[in-house]
């Protein structure tokens, strides 16, 4: 029950889900506070259970120290999933603490050395049936990594896209400063070489920043630092674009009328770039499903994250990653 808007938005999201889907939600948090919010919502009690846990990891808390505490809602939830009380975990709490605590409680899939936080983002569709969303990882599970980590990220991202986006052979790109295989530092050049040699991977080479939204690849791999900056830049730009349009409308009547005419399109654009419509980002590499929501997630985002988690469980993403990693080890 972490996050900047917890427990209210988390509980509201779970309440929405309880009414519209067959997903059972196990809420881990301060029972009194959760119940107080829940009773103000329309909800289906048959699909909601609650584990009382008074402590939550603060958003500004030291992740390493927080991950070591056994009395937080995060650790209790991780333990609940490990014990089979739930199939997946959704959290809007401190990202670093989520990753570290998961490492302590869960196990990495054999063959995976480092977990990766993946994020979906809208991109240009090249054909009508194409998934309008692509996957980028890592976006912040760790800051730095080596070439082998990037290969593992590519394999995991590819497995995720195969199961979730139903793409038979997802195209994988390496985020770099140029398309030239010799571009970037030694680590990126080595990563390019390893990715190109990786069997079973549809590697399309280096992709540049503008390729993120152009749709040249279904899965893009990068270091956590770069991925996190790219993801937040994207979120920021979409917000600024709408502000700029709004401000322009205040200057000239004609522009305001033009904006009115475009309002439906602008709303679509807003919906397309609104992170809350995509729910959360999967943390890939563990033997369980973890969907990490934005810290500012509202009820809509939480509800979508729960749906993403349920889809990842139903489509057995973890099983696919385990199978692929086992094949690599052989």
């Amino acid at each position: 029950m972490g996050g900047e808007r917890a427990p209210d938005e988390i509980v509201k999201g779970a309440a929405q889900i309880s009414l519209t889907t067959d997903i059972d939600c196990l809420l881990v948090g301060d029972e009194d506070r959760v119940q107080a919010v829940l009773e103000q919502q329309e909800y289906n009690p048959e699909r909601i259970s609650l584990v009382d846990c008074r402590n939550a990891v603060g958003m500004d808390e030291d992740p390493a120290a927080a991950a070591g505490r056994r009395d937080t809602s995060l650790t209790v939830a991780l333990q609940a999933v490990k014990a089979g009380g739930a199939d997946a975990l959704v959290s809007a709490g401190n990202t670093a603490a989520c990753v570290l605590a998961s490492t302590r409680v869960w196990r990495l899939v054999p063959g995976v050395r480092r977990a990766a936080l993946a994020a979906v983002y809208p991109r240009h569709r090249e054909y009508p049936e194409q998934d309008p969303l692509a996957l980028v990882l890592d976006v912040g599970a760790s800051l730095r990594c080596d070439a082998l980590d990037l290969v593992e990220f590519a394999v995991m991202g590819s497995a995720y896209a195969r199961r979730i986006s139903k793409v038979e052979s997802p195209r994988v790109g390496l985020l770099n400063v140029d398309r030239d295989p010799r571009a970037g530092d030694d680590m990126l050049i080595e990563a390019h070489r390893l990715l190109a040699a990786e069997p079973g991977l549809n590697f399309v080479g280096n992709v540049e920043g503008h390729d993120l939204v152009r749709g040249g690849a279904d899965v893009i791999v990068c270091e956590g630092l770069v991925g996190n900056v790219a993801r937040k830049l994207f979120e920021g730009v979409s917000g600024v674009m709408l502000d700029v349009a709004r401000a322009a409308g205040e200057h000239r009547l004609m522009w305001r009328l033009g904006l009115r005419l475009l309002s439906e399109g602008i709303e679509r654009l807003q919906a397309l770039t609104d992170y809350s419509n995509y729910g959360g980002a999967p943390i890939l590499g563990f033997d369980r499903v973890f969907i990490k929501c934005h810290g500012r997630s509202n009820a809509h985002a939480v509800a979508n994250a729960i749906k993403v988690a349920a889809k990842a469980v139903r489509d057995d993403v973890t099983g696919e990653i385990t199978a692929v990693m086992a094949k690599r080890r052989r």
Binding site: D24, Q35, E39, Q40, E42, P45, E46, I48, S49, L50
Partner: protein, 351 residues
């Protein structure tokens, strides 16, 4: 008049409480009118609650009567009676609203005004009985049952008479020509404090329970009839067998899983409708039979502490206060006729 606490009168609404009636559109309304008994669908578990109430009264020797009050026209009475017979539900009386009379008099607004009708029938029903029984009222959150039943409970308790009742009736838009009769009926009812022991509201439209807190702890909103059965059993009206029968009906005929039943029970406990101690002791046989999952192993001291906290919570809500109808109507304006045209229940702000 001395109260004979041993007799019990149960009053049930029909649509959305017993039957899963759907009349949100004109087409659905017309279909409902033409449905036969076998076409009608009950809310899961409700026939078992009614049967269990009767069976429990027979076992304990406590006289119990079941009456239905429906705002549906008497023309669909045959289908309703057929349905009740098909379900094997025992009942002692059924009243319908004579909608044709309102049409003949040109009082079309009265077709949708049910508070006056239900209050009159509730009071008439009580006056028709020689004794002064305890009462249990069962309704839903679709229209005005929480308000109607609470007002009736206060009339029976002697807290709502004369000017106060008149003001309320006018405020909620009851036909003015019906007010004198309602006031006269209220005056004839001997005051019996706490005779209406519980008001159960089936949350058919999933009204947030907090929105009904203003009606006090006498009114219990429930999401399904397993919850209703547990509260009835906690009150001593139903025995464990009854609770089991309702749980079994939900599991067998409405595909409720043990987890869903357990979650319903936990919700009831968290809302303070029953203490954990009582609830868990009532459902112990259900856990043995697999209708509910086996209990999780929490540390004993923690369980005891939580039980103690919850018992304190239940005790605190058991205190009965006089309801502030002005505050209720200000908070739930859809309960008044004029408010109903402006405000939908979903738009009611949280407290």
């Amino acid at each position: 008049m001395a109260r004979r606490a041993e007799s019990l009168l149960c009053r049930w609404d029909l649509d959305k409480t017993y039957l899963r009636s759907e009349f949100e559109t004109l087409r659905q309304l017309l279909r409902t009118a033409w449905e036969r008994g076998e076409d009608k669908i009950e809310v899961p578990g409700v026939p078992e609650v009614l049967k269990a109430l009767k069976a429990s009264s027979e076992r304990t020797g406590r006289p119990l009567a079941i009456h239905f009050i429906s705002a549906s026209p008497p023309q669909i009475g045959k289908a309703i009676r057929d349905k009740l017979a098909l379900d094997g539900v025992p009942y002692d009386g059924i009243v319908f609203k004579d909608q044709l009379r309102h049409i003949r008099r040109g009082k079309f607004r009265n077709l949708r005004e049910h508070v006056g009708f239900k209050l009159r029938e509730l009071m008439r029903g009580r006056l028709a009985i020689d004794s002064s029984p305890d009462e249990l009222l069962f309704g839903d959150d679709w229209e005005s049952d929480p308000l109607t039943y609470s007002a009736y409970a206060d009339v029976v308790a002697g807290q709502m008479r004369g000017r106060a009742l008149e003001t309320l009736l006018v405020r909620i838009g009851v036909d003015r020509s019906a007010v004198p009769e309602l006031l006269a009926l209220a005056e004839r009812i001997p005051p019996a404090p706490q005779a209406v022991r519980r008001i159960f509201i089936n949350l058919a439209r999933r009204t947030p329970p907090a929105h009904l807190q203003a009606f006090g702890p006498r009114l219990v909103p429930t999401f399904n009839y397993f919850q209703t059965a547990v509260v009835l059993a906690a009150d001593g009206v139903l025995d464990r067998t009854g609770v089991r029968d309702v749980a079994r009906a939900l599991a067998d005929r409405a595909t409720y899983t043990p987890t869903q039943l357990d979650n319903s029970l936990a919700d009831l406990i968290r809302r303070g409708c029953v203490s954990e101690w009582t609830a868990q002791s009532l459902v112990r046989p259900l856990r043995r039979e697999g209708l509910l999952p086996a209990r999780s192993r929490r540390p004993r001291w923690r369980r005891r502490l939580q039980r103690w906290i919850r018992r304190r919570r239940v005790d605190a809500t058991a205190e009965r206060r006089t309801l502030d109808y002005e505050a209720i109507l200000a908070r739930l304006p859809h309960l008044t006729r004029t408010g109903a045209e402006r405000v939908d229940v979903e738009e009611v702000p949280a407290t």
